[in-house]
């Protein structure tokens, strides 16, 4: 079972590695990180802050786009092209297949994130910007955001097509960053039902803002360990629930 899991996960990584879109995005990442050094030429007093902002922001956008593309595109395409017929008909459970596919995606994202992070730190070193713990932590918490978004993408791909999956996952990214605002606005309402709805949505939707430590990083604010540890656990638990739902749906799906 472990061998099948590793074979499928590694194949997912290999697929992404040989996919030209991944290369284009990786190239774009390098370009964006380098361009941040040019932009900082026009700043004086806030040089380090702008560099950290642009570096972490660029990395975040590219990896989120990649997570959406990988989680919603590859599995859907595999189902649409019926490549999946030759894999799930093997002595492999559908649950194992799905989780291994997710693991393959996360392996790809992790490797790209590590490479992009190394590129960013190299840039910091070259430009003599101090590497602080909040910056490293913000990079680490981005991984949990990618895990959560990938789980949303996989859940959607388990029962619907690529376009719908991508639309919902991207929407979930925006809504996830705004769920706190939804709660705040709803609580200001005088309508009881609206307040209850806002509260329900707040607890139901993923709160991606608690995984976003880019703001504190650019100001060098140290986030207490308990806070980011709980946030990390929250992301893992939320992803686990989504993956269980994806497995539940996927196991019942007919591949026509």
């Amino acid at each position: 079972m472990i061998r099948s899991f590793l074979a499928i996960a590694y194949n997912g990584f290999r697929e992404a590695r040989r996919n030209r879109v991944t290369l284009v995005l990786a190239f774009f990442a390098g370009l964006l990180l380098l361009s941040s050094s040019l932009i900082t030429d026009i700043t004086v007093a806030t040089f380090d802050r702008v560099l950290i902002d642009i570096g972490l922001g660029g990395m975040g956008i590219i990896l989120v786009l990649l997570a959406v593309f990988l989680s919603t595109g590859l599995l859907s395409r595999e189902i649409e092209r019926r490549t999946i017929f030759m894999v799930v008909s093997k002595p492999v459970s559908r649950a194992l297949f799905l989780v291994a596919r997710l693991a393959g995606n996360m392996l790809t994202l992790t490797i790209l994130q590590v490479l992009m992070g190394a590129l960013l730190l190299l840039e910091f070193w070259v430009l003599r910007t101090p590497v602080t713990w909040p910056t490293v932590l913000a990079m680490g918490m981005l991984w949990f955001e990618l895990l959560l978004l990938s789980s949303v993408g996989f859940l959607m791909s388990s029962f619907t097509g690529q376009m719908t999956s991508a639309f919902v996952t991207v929407s979930m990214f925006f809504v996830g960053h705004l769920s706190g605002d939804i709660y705040t606005f709803a609580q200001r309402s005088k309508n009881e039902a609206l307040r209850a709805l806002g509260k329900t949505l707040y607890y139901l939707l993923p709160n991606l803002e608690r995984l976003n430590l880019r703001g504190p990083a650019s100001y060098g604010i140290v986030v207490p360990a308990r806070e980011w540890l709980v946030s990390g656990l929250y992301a893992v638990a939320y992803s686990a629930v989504l993956t269980c739902l994806a497995v539940f749906t996927f196991r019942r799906r007919d591949f026509r």
């Binding site: 194949n11 290999r14 490549t83 017929f85 093997k90 002595p91 492999v92 459970s93 019942r252 026509r256």
Partner: protein, 319 residues
């Protein structure tokens, strides 16, 4: 007693279609089938007859609405049951970013081939389907025939005792079809049980021990190919010379068909009538230049079964 590789009892499948899943199409209805070890079994039928649905249920790609399917006595959802099966789907679409060798190696890992043997076994099977030289090319560069060969290789890399092929010769050129047929014959020689579905009748006639004809999701014929063909040869075919059509018809025999072929007549009638007609033709001064059983092909059987079942309509039944 050996457990049959495949047993289907009362198998039915109704697909629900449309946004609200309100449209229902019955793809398979109450199918019973047992495939014994070592048999080459053909599922024959027009498009939409339920052949692929049957195979997909057996391979756990589709869930039956009712009835049971057994693979070596186990449920198709059991991964250990599927370990004993090699499967090649219709129009296979392997991961095109992999090379043929990488794809077969992936199949070997998933099929449980011992790790130390994966590379060797993969190259062996690729060689056996004529893909040894192209094994390290990416699949995206392969022709349809080459993809089919790789698909066959991944199906047998773990040496399964049961091979299931969905339309294995569909869309292939004569060379590709010949290769697939030889491949099936070779597997039969090794004792592998083979189930394959097709609508290409000569393939069934050339390869199968038994055949089931499916029309509209129902099994309308089943049996040994030889028996089905023998049972369907009630006619004799005679070629007569020296008599006109009117003279032959005037002999008072019940003739199924009379065709004028320049100076000769081609007559089809039952075996009993043929014996009497033979004597009468000779007595009337005619000549019989040939007398043989009219060939009743599987195609005739297939068309007969289709017309009996649904008057030529195709596709699953919309409920």
């Amino acid at each position: 007693m050996t457990t049959p590789p495949i047993e289907l009892h009362g198998l039915s499948k109704t697909y629900r279609l449309g946004f609200f899943l309100s449209r229902r199409v019955r793809a398979l209805e109450n199918l019973d089938m047992v495939i014994e070890p070592g048999q080459v079994y053909g599922l024959l039928g027009p498009n939409g007859a339920g052949k692929s649905t049957t195979i997909k249920i057996v391979m756990n790609l589709v869930q039956a609405s009712s009835g049971t399917a057994r693979l070596f006595g186990r449920s198709p959802t059991d991964t250990e049951a599927r370990r004993q099966v090699g499967f090649v789907p219709e129009n296979p679409a392997p991961y095109e970013y992999l090379t043929g060798r990488e794809f077969v190696e992936l199949a070997a890992h998933l099929g449980g081939v011992p790790r130390a043997e994966v590379r060797k076994r993969s190259l062996e099977v690729l060689e056996s389907v004529g893909m040894g030289r192209a094994a390290d090319l990416q699949i995206r560069r392969y022709s349809k025939g080459m993809i089919q060969r790789v698909a066959l290789a991944q199906g047998v890399v773990h040496r399964p005792p049961l091979l299931i092929l969905d339309e294995p010769t569909s869309g292939l050129d004569p060379v590709g079809r010949r290769m697939v047929r030889d491949f099936i014959l070779e597997e039969r020689r090794r004792g592998t049980t083979v189930l394959f579905c097709t609508h290409i009748i000569p393939d069934v006639e050339a390869l199968c021990d038994r055949v089931a004809v499916l029309v509209n999701g129902r099994r309308v014929r089943e049996g040994r190919v030889a028996d089905l063909l023998t049972a369907g040869t009630p006619q004799m075919e005679m070629v007569l010379e020296g008599l006109s059509e009117a003279q032959v018809r005037g002999l008072g025999r019940t003739l199924d068909e009379v065709q004028v072929l320049e100076s000769r007549l081609l007559v089809r009638c039952s075996d009993a009538e043929a014996q009497r007609l033979l004597a009468q033709v000779l007595q009337a001064g005619g000549r019989v230049s040939s007398l043989e059983p009219a060939r009743f092909s599987l195609e005739d059987l297939f068309l007969q079964a289709m017309s009996e079942a649904r008057q030529g309509a195709v596709g699953g039944e919309i409920l």
